[in-house]
């Protein structure tokens, strides 16, 4: 069930009404309802993988309890590694087996050894990377004695499977979400309205901006050898907007939906394309994953404490792993490596925390220096996205090679209709105006009259109705 489908438009109101109706009964009933809804939501994709989700939940639930009850460090370690190995094992089989098998065959092929390794035809279970990371953060936190294990199976299952975040995050932490699940929720008018507003904005980003950009980005990337340099630049730019609006749109809908149910999820995006350097970009892009890698990989590796070499090594490790997390393809690994290279000057010169505030805070326009930094960072990001989007590393190099030709200054051969380009520009203006909020339209219109404010929201609805891409598409991050 997609967030941008009619099914979800029926599902959410039904769950919302039932959820607040049973609120008077008990918290337990409310959580059971949410769990059933979450499992139903997940089984709409493929009910067979529901068993995998339930197995993963059971595994982490029991290993969490066993770790806390372990009488020796060795036993605790044993349960911990059991959970980690099985969780990563599932991820490895479903997501990476074919990649490793093919890479081995290719590698030995270079040395003249022709191997026959059979690949398996597997469908990647939706959300496996996300719920595996949920579970891993939980067992790691218990192993490190940061949290106590959750003994209520319903509550724990809900933490793993809560439907707004189940298939594409935000990747939650037990310390943040579990206490909310265990606490009685009260309906809050302001939060519910805010949730609806964020859902509206997320929907606009997905179905208007991302899906319209996707149409042309797909066309250009799928036939990149037929397109001129300027078309390829346009394709890369369109993909840059597509991936941002697709994923942050999904996150907005997820966060807004959870807020309607009285639950606050972690923020996932904070206007990353207005970043002034790559370090700031990574503090603002897919925040829940970046912070996961920081807390569970970068810091355990030593973080930035061990001198320059350690910082450089650890930075490369987390970016390469982050790239690999996205998918079993060298394009993602190179994308991660490129980002590591881009961030390296700020790691070496320790300037990676120089842009912690919001750009041009309190001002309408950025300074010339800020604008230059934003454009430079954005350009580097676009360059990296070419690798992320390309089907192979070869294609990415072909695209980059074709961009820097005389064709670069010719009119693109394919382009969305002007009205769509105008809407993208309008969208970026709204994002800029609203960059001090949690999402762009959080605070826009708060001082206006209700009629004007409602007209603004209705205008967004009109844009959705008039300009949404009707062929529809999955969210990009479902494949991860």
């Amino acid at each position: 069930m997609l967030f941008n489908s009619l099914n979800f438009a029926f599902f959410l109101p039904v769950i919302f009404i039932l959820y607040w109706l049973v609120n008077k009964q008990s918290l337990r009933v409310q959580n059971i309802l949410l769990l059933i809804a979450s499992y139903y939501f997940y089984s709409c994709w493929d009910y067979r993988f529901l068993f995998l989700l339930v197995f993963s939940t059971l595994l982490d639930y029991f290993t969490g309890i066993k770790m806390s009850e372990a009488k020796s460090i060795k036993s605790k370690k044993g349960w911990f590694w059991l959970s980690v190995i099985v969780n990563l094992g599932f991820l490895g089989v479903f997501k990476y087996y074919n990649f490793f098998a093919q890479s081995f065959v290719d590698m030995f092929g270079h040395f003249g050894v022709h191997m026959q390794l059979s690949t398996i035809n597997v469908i990647l279970p939706v959300g496996i990377s996300f719920y595996t990371f949920h579970g891993l953060s939980y067992v790691i936190d218990i192993y490190k004695d940061r949290i106590k294990p959750e003994r209520n199976f319903i509550d724990y299952s809900l933490f793993v499977s809560f439907f707004p975040l189940l298939v594409a995050g935000p990747i939650e932490r037990a310390t943040h979400l579990l206490p909310q699940i265990k606490k009685k929720r009260h309906f809050d008018y302001v939060k519910a309205i805010d949730g609806l507003r964020q859902i509206l904005w997320g929907l606009f980003k997905k179905v208007v901006i991302a899906d319209n950009c996707a149409e042309y980005a797909n066309l250009i990337f799928n036939h990149s050898s037929n397109y001129s340099g300027s078309s390829l630049v346009l394709g890369a730019l369109l993909f840059t907007f597509q991936i941002y609006c697709d994923f942050s749109g999904y996150s907005d809908i997820a966060i807004g939906t959870a807020r309607l149910l009285g639950i606050e999820l972690l923020r996932n995006f904070a206007f990353p394309y207005f970043s002034r350097d790559i370090a700031e970009f990574w503090r603002r892009w897919h925040i829940s994953l970046s912070s996961w890698f920081k807390d569970y990989l970068y810091i355990p590796l030593g973080g930035s404490k061990g001198g320059l070499w350690m910082r450089v090594r650890n930075t490369f490790i987390i970016f390469l792993v982050s790239g690999f997390w996205h998918g079993a393809n060298w394009t993602f690994i190179i994308w991660g490596g490129l980002n590591a290279l881009f961030i390296m000057p700020s790691i070496i010169f320790k300037t990676n925390r120089s842009n912690l505030d919001i750009v041009a805070k309190g001002r309408l326009l950025p300074s010339a220096r800020e604008l230059f930094d934003i454009v430079l960072t954005f350009s580097l990001t676009v360059l990296a996205w070419i690798f992320f989007r390309s089907a192979s590393v070869g294609q990415a190099f072909q695209i980059i090679g074709s961009i820097f030709t005389k064709d670069l200054f010719k009119a693109p051969q394919a382009s969305p209709r002007p009205v769509i380009l105008a809407i993208i520009i309008l969208f970026m203006i709204i994002e800029w105006i609203g960059r001090e909020g949690k999402y762009a339209i959080e605070n826009i219109g708060m001082k206006w009259t209700p009629v004007l404010r409602w007209s603004f929201y209705s205008f967004i609805i009109v844009c959705i109705g008039m300009y949404m891409e009707t062929t529809g598409s999955d969210f990009i991050y479902f494949q991860f």
């Binding site: 009619l6 607040w20 309906f187 008018y189 519910a192 309205i193 609806l196 319209n212 209709r417 002007p418 009205v419 769509i420 409602w454 007209s455 929201y457 209705s458 205008f459 609805i461 009109v462 109705g465 008039m466 300009y467 949404m468 009707t470």
Partner: protein, 326 residues
Amino acid sequence: MKRFALRLCLFIVFASVFYTITILIFGIFMPASLAKNFDDFGGLGFTRRRMNDAAKIKGVDVIIVGSSHAYRGYDPRIFKKEGLSIFNLGSSSQSPLQTKYLVDKYVKNLKPKFVIIDIYPILFGVDGLESQIDLISSGLMDKDIVKMSFEMNNIRLYNSLIFGAFNNTFHLKKQKKTEIKGDTYIPGGYVQSYERFKFKKVRFTQKINISALQLGAFKKTLAELKSQNIKYIIVQAPFSKANYNSYTNNDEIDKMFAGLGEYYNFNKVLNLPDSMYYDDSHLNQFGVNVYNAKLIDTLKKSGVLNNVARLKPAGNMKNFQASNNK
């Protein structure tokens, strides 16, 4: 919670009014290029006029249903010379879903003795959206078309329905002049064109896919005709060789349709030059003259038109070929 529910209901009403007004503004004042999901063709290929005529006529020998191949491919004047009155219910990109709707709607009124179902197989694989919008923007707005639109579930249809409902009620806008240059409407639903094929569209080879939904609608139409004892034939009017040969599974398609009734594929019967087409998909008047003569001849020989009308004897192809040489 009550406050939330009340405010939400109020907002839904407000947004609905806002949305409707915007659709009306778009429909009346804005150029079509500004709206992506709002098509107000006003009926391409004279659909509105054809449907108005269909509502007035009572009783014909033959009706023809199908896509633009139908309304550009069967000239009532040629059939009339043979003693047959025909009415053409073709519409742009008409898929079997719309064919079923039109047969259900007009057969009672037109009381045909015989139906020629012109198929363009590629339209058995489409969602039927373009044709549905064409019908709505031609003024067709009834319970069945609304029901069909909801089943098809697409925002473009909903936008067209909103504008169509207001336009039909308040006559907000005159019919757009969207007809193609050189086209002339001929009473009986036919669109005549003497334009000749000027440039060749690049065609990539592709397989014709048949959607279960469209095939199901097609079979229901056949069953409906059978239940009313109306004879029918399934026909594939000729289109350019480049277009026809771009489909890789033509034989498979022929086999399928032959299993559904008496079927003629005139792409395999006639070998018309490009000069008899007005584009790579449609016959021009020169091609129609030849094709219609051959069709009538074939029907006479096969005897399927027995008891439909008092026909002239078969074998008068020469007259039409002579007129094409002028």
